[in-house]
């Protein structure tokens, strides 16, 4: 009986530990990504080369290509950050798309080597039966 009780307690403890670690690990990383306003405010905490993630909307009209890299601005309605993406963007990448880029500051611009689309909870029906992404 005592042996069984110990194993049960141990098992329950392990599960609780796994959950605690998950929650702690996640909450330590609460600034999982920064919005442009926060990134600019906290620029001192992230010296050039220190990696973090930046999320926001691609500013319409800001998307240009120079050689292998994409240049665009990311905004959250407050601040705007200039981004240079040195890797292939995801298929749905476009102006006005919600993006999450990973990289680091490089002398005032954000040099990113990965980007994903951060789709939100909103869905909408294409108005005329055609839809964005139809030609991708």
């Amino acid at each position: 009986m005592a042996h069984r009780g110990f194993i049960l307690f141990g098992l329950g403890g392990v599960i609780a530990l796994v959950i605690a670690i998950t929650v702690t690990g996640i909450s330590n990383n609460l600034t999982y990504y920064l919005y442009p306003t926060e990134a600019v405010d906290q620029k001192a905490d992230f010296p050039d080369g220190e990696r973090f993630r930046l999320a926001g909307l691609v500013v319409e009209g800001s998307l240009t290509e120079t050689g292998d890299a994409l240049n665009f601005d990311v905004t959250d309605g407050g601040a705007t950050v200039a981004v240079v993406l040195t890797n292939t963007p995801p298929p749905l990448f476009d102006e006005n798309a919600p993006v999450l880029v990973e990289g680091a500051w490089d002398d005032g611009i954000f040099r990113a080597d990965s980007a994903i689309i951060r789709h939100d909870e909103n869905y909408s029906v294409p108005e005329d039966g055609n839809y964005e992404g139809a030609d991708d």
Binding site: I15, T22, Y33, R118, H119, E121, S124, V125
Partner: protein, 236 residues
């Protein structure tokens, strides 16, 4: 047996209606046809949450009443729940690759906590298979069944508590963020998957009872509810 056939018939019918609605709903303005995956992804994870909730309930009831039916209920529900957590994860990965541009991110709280939940309940099944004494098996898995259910609200609210890539809920108490045609299709599929859950549970519990009868299990706890062993050329 007829009761189970009726249940599967109802499940098949409602899944067929759900499938038709999923295929005829409008595509999404940004995602296109990939939004249809929500009709498998969300219902599967709803089913998993329901299943693990039922497991916790059965676990508590066994600990109080010590009747084999509760143990069988808890264990059978884990099997179904694990299967549909897996389906939810896979459909999520397919969707993520298409829409996000990546199938997975361990740093995302929703994804990570769902994966942990999947492995914990796999551990539940391994625990049951590893213990021979029915009462000991029932007691230990009941404790695990109760403790592990805390993951359900953790996974569900992870998108609200933390900053995630995975979006927040599209269906909330104050309304939804989906056009009605998409919402109705998804809810019909949630209903269909619920009927499927009932049918699968009825079949699995029947099977567990038959297994116990064949093995002469003790009357206070259910059988192991193991996945079937494949006996072939070599008898392991």
């Amino acid at each position: 047996m007829t009761r189970i056939r009726v249940l599967f018939g109802l499940a098949g019918l409602s899944m067929a209606v759900g499938l038709w609605m999923a295929l005829t709903a409008p595509p999404d303005n940004l995602q296109g046809e990939y939004s249809r995956l929500i009709n498998i992804h969300v219902p599967s994870l709803w089913l998993a949450f329901l299943a693990f909730g039922v497991t916790a309930f059965g676990s508590v009831m066994w600990l109080i009443r010590k009747r084999p039916r509760w143990d069988r209920l808890a264990a059978s529900s884990v099997e179904v729940g694990v299967l549909f957590t897996g389906i939810g994860l896979i459909t999520g990965m397919i969707w993520g690759q298409a829409v996000w541009g990546t199938p997975w991110d361990w740093g995302d709280p929703r994804l990570a906590s769902t994966a942990v939940m999947f492995f914990v309940y796999l551990g539940y099944m391994a625990l049951r298979a590893a213990i021979d004494d029915p009462i000991s098996r029932a007691r230990r898995s009941a404790i695990l069944g109760v403790v592990a259910v805390v993951q359900v609200p953790l996974v569900y609210f992870s998108v609200n508590l933390f900053r995630t890539i995975h979006q927040t809920q599209s269906v909330r108490p104050d309304g939804s963020t989906m056009p009605n045609e998409m919402l109705v299709a998804m809810l019909v599929n949630v209903f269909a998957f619920t009927v499927l859950y009932v049918a699968l549970m009825a079949a699995r519990i029947d099977l567990a009872i038959a297994e116990e009868a064949a093995h002469g299990e003790e009357a206070l706890a259910g059988g192991a509810v193991k996945p079937p062993k494949i006996t072939g050329i070599r008898d392991v």
